[in-house]
């Protein structure tokens, strides 16, 4: 056994929690090793100090206080059924107050009722087949091009109308001062 192993077992050796073989080995080692012997001595001194600590007296009479308080409370409850009546009325009052305030804050008016009564329409989709999907896709592409053409035509029409109605010369004519306009 080396010193490290012995020192890890010294506490258990002190408490006599080792087998007789281990005890014998440690005893032999301590006899030859002054470092481990000193360690054992210090540990045993600590154990002795801890064992010699006196129990501190509680500042109040703890146990009597505990039992008298508990018994006192139990007597009070057994002889006084009003305790529970009081609690029940308090709970009922709380619930009443809660309902009152909630109705006051959120009153039920005709608009609220109509909003609540409205039926919500959900959009439902038909089931697609692969052919339909492709077809729809093509259609959408075609539509896209058609829409593009339409917008271009509209632009041309607008330009024509503008050209027709608006005067040709937008630039200011010479000789007329700007400030007078």
């Amino acid at each position: 056994m080396n010193c490290h192993r012995v020192q890890s077992l010294l506490s258990a050796y002190l408490d006599q929690e080792l087998s007789s073989e281990e005890r014998r080995l440690i005893r032999n080692h301590i006899f030859n090793c002054p470092v481990c012997a000193q360690c054992l001595e210090e540990l045993s001194r600590i154990k002795k100090y801890l064992g010699g600590l006196e129990p501190p007296p509680p500042q109040i009479d703890l146990i009597d206080h505990f039992f008298s308080y508990k018994l006192h409370i139990s007597d009070a409850v057994d002889s006084n059924p009003w305790e529970w009546c009081k609690r029940l009325t308090l709970t009922a009052a709380c619930i009443f107050l809660f309902l009152l305030t909630s109705f006051h804050l959120f009153p039920v008016t005709n608009t609220n009722r109509s909003i609540a009564g409205q039926e919500v329409e959900y959009h439902t989709y038909d089931q697609f087949t692969t052919y339909q999907l492709v077809n729809n896709e093509q259609n959408s592409n075609v539509n896209f091009f058609l829409e593009e053409d339409e917008t271009e035509e509209k632009k041309k029409k607008k330009k024509k109308i503008d050209d027709f109605y608006l005067p040709q010369h937008k630039a200011l004519l010479p000789g007329i001062p700007v400030s007078s306009r």
């Binding site: 210090e42 540990l43 509680p58 500042q59 109040i60 505990f66 409370i73």
Partner: protein
């Protein structure tokens, strides 16, 4: 809070013989319970709270206690679990101190009333000082090590009993006690050397 808890337990277990039995058991071990709580918490107020709360829990669960098994170990287990829970809660809560009030540790440093068994005032002073030093060193240990060391050295339980109380394996108990004592030795090293110096 405390009142409602007490009321609920009264309704569930009103039989007087149960209360008598419980009281008899508690009065047998009351000093040891308080001692254990004091060594864990390090001050009287917390120790009193811890003991009372543990006893309340024990009374509430007294119908589950098997007669014939050790009552003290059962209560020690409750005290230890409560202490660990409270310690974790405390650690999560940040410490808030008022600048106007005096620091709380000044109140705790008042000399406690200790019964004077020895007639010599020197003896008394030495023992008091030693107790304070050891308690401070104990408080510096991690709480698991502290509980194991206190149960072993102060309360005098065997490793098997401690493993039952702390709900862990024998190997864990052995390592906790070893590491706890090693740390205590480091903290008390100047004190141990001083003692030896005086003796030599």
């Amino acid at each position: 809070m405390l009142q409602t808890e007490t009321l609920s337990l009264v309704r569930t277990a009103p039989a007087p013989d149960v209360l008598e039995e419980f009281e008899k058991q508690v009065k047998t071990y009351e000093k040891a319970f308080y001692h254990f709580a004091y060594r864990l918490t390090g001050n009287h107020d917390d120790a009193e709270d811890l003991t009372q709360e543990a006893l309340l829990k024990a009374y509430r669960a007294f119908h589950r206690f098997k007669t014939g098994t050790a009552f003290d170990r059962w209560v020690y287990q409750i005290i230890y679990r409560l202490f660990i829970d409270q310690y974790r809660k405390k650690r999560r809560r940040p410490f808030v101190a008022s600048l106007d009030e005096s620091p709380p540790y000044l109140d705790q440093e008042k000399p406690k009333e200790v019964p004077d068994h020895s007639k010599l005032p020197e003896d008394f002073a030495l023992r008091h000082e030693l107790g304070e030093t050891i308690q401070k060193a104990l408080l510096r240990l991690p709480e698991e090590f502290r509980a194991a060391v206190v149960l072993c050295d102060v309360q005098g339980f065997s490793y098997e009993e401690i493993s039952n109380i702390l709900q862990c394996s024998l190997g864990t108990v052995r390592s906790r006690i070893h590491r706890g004592r090693r740390q205590l030795r480091e903290h008390l090293h100047p004190y141990l050397n001083g003692e030896r110096g005086k003796k030599q």
